[in-house]
Symmetry: C2
Subunit: 413 residues, 2 copies
């Protein structure tokens, strides 16, 4: 039986691939409505088109004044002001201040003409309908947001490669930017291989199992912002696999081949990757458990990942390799890191040094108390170990395991 050569740590394998991909989006770009842009990747730097705030804006409810008129004011010796109006929300002032005059100001509203500061209402006292006492001095600009202080018209709003969050949508719309250019979603073809695999809608005969990997990987592709392109099933015939993989790659920006990546006689995925384009396989075998029999390749500019058929291994490898690759295809060099939660390990996890282990754990514990991570043991490839788990604990390659009681980060798939 052939051996794995050049077994690499997953991060090194990933780096080998990403270093060969362009930093710019490989998949083109398109214009979308800003309100529909959540999770999309900015294709080209977006400049601010105007300043925010657009006008000097009160940050408090109170009175706009000339700061000089408040100097020396104190509880014992308040300054008296004559109220000469208000500036309603959404309106320009229709009044300008003379010495000793004040105008009602609302949070977010404009100041009176000549005003350069706002006195908080809490530092004033109404004497009658037209007079207030001010108990504290304000400096010029106090309680006022200046034009451009939030963002300047010459500033960058969002860099290329940025993944749009709710606050980014808000900021873009605050500037009136209703459409933006985003990277196209990479099309990720997924081909599931193996004589034993049948469609989920079929009733498996003896020795047959339903296809899972197409759909778990599709979920991970979608979560990373790509478009999954299920390519169907193909048996273990090499020529049929090659034809299906070629056709799949032609219509995709990236290809995932599920199963057939181990080293047994029937598994010739690495040969397929070699035939699909140059340079072909970059890595065959990861220092990883589960997920050792994985393939990382690049075929004429398109990433090709070979996943173990084992559904647990497939999800772990996909989580480590596919997600950052999908982001990179959109021009996102620093994708959002995977979701992790801190916990205390509840049981020892033994591990062999020299490879990274990912162990499914279930989180138990109160919201305020410390969360404990209980390993979910199960035979290799049981999808329900992942269903019963809340995430994975990584045992680093240089550790012989992790002891109960240690702090761990639990990573979502």
């Amino acid at each position: 039986m052939p051996e794995f050569f050049n077994v690499l740590p997953p991060q090194e394998a990933l780096a080998l691939l990403l270093d060969l991909l362009p930093e710019r989006p490989a998949t083109g770009a398109g214009v979308v409505e800003t309100v529909d842009a959540l999770g999309r990747v900015v294709a080209a730097e977006i400049p601010a088109t105007e300043s925010l705030p657009a006008f000097p804006r009160s940050t408090m409810d109170g009175y706009s004044v000339r700061a000089a008129d408040t100097y020396g004011a104190s509880d014992g010796l308040p300054a008296w002001f004559t109220l000469v109006g208000e500036v309603p929300m959404g309106c320009a002032p229709d009044v300008s201040l003379e010495v000793g005059e004040a105008v009602v100001a609302y949070t977010g509203g404009m100041l009176a003409g000549n005003a350069d500061a706002v006195v908080m209402v809490e530092h004033t006292q109404a004497i009658d309908a037209h007079t207030i006492e001010v108990m504290r001095p304000v400096a010029p600009g106090e309680n006022v947001a200046q034009p451009g202080e939030d963002v300047g018209a010459d500033e960058m709003v969002l860099p290329a490669g940025h993944v749009i969050r709710p606050q980014d949508v808000g900021a873009l719309l605050a500037l009136g930017i209703e459409q933006i250019k985003v990277s196209a979603r990479p099309r990720v073809g997924i081909l599931s291989m193996g004589d034993e695999v049948v469609h989920p809608g079929a009733t498996p005969g003896p020795g047959q199992v339903r296809d899972i990997n197409t759909y778990t990987v599709a979920g991970q592709v979608a979560a990373a912002g790509g478009t999954a392109v299920p390519l169907g099933l193909v048996g273990d015939d090499y020529e049929e696999q090659l034809v299906a993989a070629r056709q799949g790659l032609a219509q995709s920006d990236m290809l995932v081949l599920s199963a057939g990546s181990s080293v047994s006689a029937r598994d010739r995925t690495v040969d397929i990757v070699a035939e699909l384009g140059e340079p072909g396989p970059l890595v065959h075998g990861l220092a990883l458990r589960p997920g050792k029999p994985a393939i990382v390749g690049l075929c004429d500019g398109k990433p090709v990942i070979g996943l173990p058929g084992n559904p647990v291994s497939a999800m772990v490898v996909s989580s480590l390799l596919l997600r950052p690759t999908v982001y990179r295809l959109m021009g996102c060099v620093h994708p959002p890191p995977p979701v992790e939660r801190a916990a205390i390990l509840a049981q020892d996890i033994p591990s062999a040094a020299g490879r990274e282990d990912y162990v499914p754990v279930r989180l138990v514990g109160g919201r305020n108390g410390m969360v404990k991570a209980h390993p979910v043991w199960g035979k290799s490839g049981f999808i329900f170990t992942l269903v019963r788990a809340d995430g994975l604990v990584r045992v680093p390659a240089d550790a012989g395991g992790i002891y109960a009681g240690e702090s761990v980060q639990v990573r979502e798939l």
Copy 2:
């Protein structure tokens, strides 16, 4: 000017609301394709309909044997076996074992008739085309996954209230469950109020600003699995606000009123919440910064949240209150916790005791090195403080601040 009464910690305010909501989905349920169910909430417990594996399955590449025939085998004294065939993937065996016979077995494949264990290929040596040496004994069941060992036909696959992840999709399809019943997405009406607020497509006049909160909140609603229903803009006229809020609530499962929740004269949102239904406002004012002037209410069974108009406060309150409420409306009592990342605080954060502070921070640091959280300072309500930030650091109510160098969790909005 009126005062805030009963200022509550955000978690207590949320609990007051959630305790009044039913644990079952409040919004009905519908059937979706399992492949489209990512992020949806299971409406009713899903039982397994069959066992997995469906047949005794080899977990290794090797040979299926009768375990008894391997007893005593060792490197020095291997057991000899006659190879009498193979069980191809996806096939039932067409051969049954006699004493001293072995059959080629593949990972995931069936065993020969009479076989009760699998010898790993690594523990064998081929002598000729029909003979192998076995160097280690196997126990009955070794390297074999038994029927029902992954999941039994009588087990629960997923409980009601569970949020569907990629591995859940895989597990359901492995059982041939192609459709499931999920809670309907709650419709969350969002009404933005204030004379100064204009549509993002408009050019603001003096003193006017574009509506942000409708869209930032809509993003948060969508992220939690709800359907945002933008209800448009209404000025500061109380009667118009009341009419718009009534109409909005009638067509929604939950209502968000943006702005008008402070205590200045023009802010009468709490009165609106009182008029919308019973019991009306539950909480007016949170021990929270930013976000103190928030309202939590329940009107004839529908949650109503009043958000501060300040876009930063609105997002913080929405993140704390709206997200878990949306999940609860789908019958999800334990929603996925917010995404948090561990970091080391780079600068002191001062804070007043007695309220929770959420301070925007930017994360800086290597993937392997320790990530540092740098506070992003800025005047209240600057949306770009959130754009420049990667998340929020929470300063607990009982702390007077956090010192540089301390470990913090940085929460995404």
